[in-house]
Symmetry: none
Subunit: 136 residues, 2 copies
DNA sequence: CTTAGTGTCATAGACACATATGACAGTAAG
DNA sequence: CTTACTGTCATATGTGTCTATGACACTAAG
């Protein structure tokens, strides 16, 4: 479980932690029931205040991604709270739009853009498979 | 010149404006010496405070991307040569990857994702055409 | 029991972001 | 000149982020 922070992006640290743990959960790097790094050690490793990590974990729990047990630790939930399709669709559209706008700003043609999207789907899929295989 | 804001990302609005104008400048969509949207109309269009846009433009000027002339407007600086394809490709890949990961996290199949990407390309293209038509 | 590790709660302060609003100065067209 | 646009500066307010710190409760191991 590796978390990489970018202090220059302007994106809040606790949200970066939330997103990366959600990605790790969805991609299989973290398995259901598995323990997450404890708040204080993780805060020390990332060199942020323990409240920042606690806030990230609280957010993750409110989203149903993890479960925290007092005195024991935080664990990945068994099933990621299934959001309704329409909600998930809107969340995804936000990300897609940013990529489409970026493609337009950088003067990529639609065909080039779609080809690149396909390529990245392949690349990231391979990455996930490597992670699954390396966990045995 | 289309700017797309994401208010839920956690990334400061003024930085989103900075990044997107820098992309447009780097790719050649904005040409050296060309006028940028005025602060107040752009703020109104994006539905943010004029100070937010002013802050973005001030940041761009401090980075040498644009020049602002009191009473006239803001203009793209002269020395901004278009970036090479490989650089632009990497910038685009960063955005694409975020969308691909999000699609996976939200449990969209590859086919659903690609269909949605196509849909958004259409939608945003129409939006741009409407903007161009409304400008004449 | 004690000890150490865990999550949780509360308080306070510093700073950044975004807002609302007013005012001033430069530019251009009438 | 006036008018309308432009960028700029200043002030104030509310919210969010991050930090620092102390305290408490739960769990497990000794």
């Amino acid at each position: 479980m590796l978390i990489q922070l970018n202090f220059k992006s302007g994106k809040p640290v606790y949200l970066q932690v939330v997103d990366q743990i959600k990605s790790a959960a969805a991609s299989g790097v973290l398995k259901p029931g598995e323990a997450l790094p404890s708040i204080r050690p993780l805060a020390e490793e990332l060199r942020v205040n323990r409240n920042t990590i606690a806030k990230a974990y609280a957010e993750l729990e409110s989203q149903g991604v993890i479960e925290s047990r007092h005195g024991k630790g935080c664990f990945l939930a068994d099933n990621h709270s299934p959001l309704k399709k329409e909600i998930r669709r809107k969340m995804l559209i936000e990300e897609i739009d940013q990529a489409v706008v970026q493609a337009h700003n950088l003067q990529f043609s639609r065909e080039e853009f779609l080809a690149l999207v396909n390529e990245r789907c392949d690349t990231l899929e391979e990455k996930r498979n490597q992670h699954r295989g390396g966990q045995s």
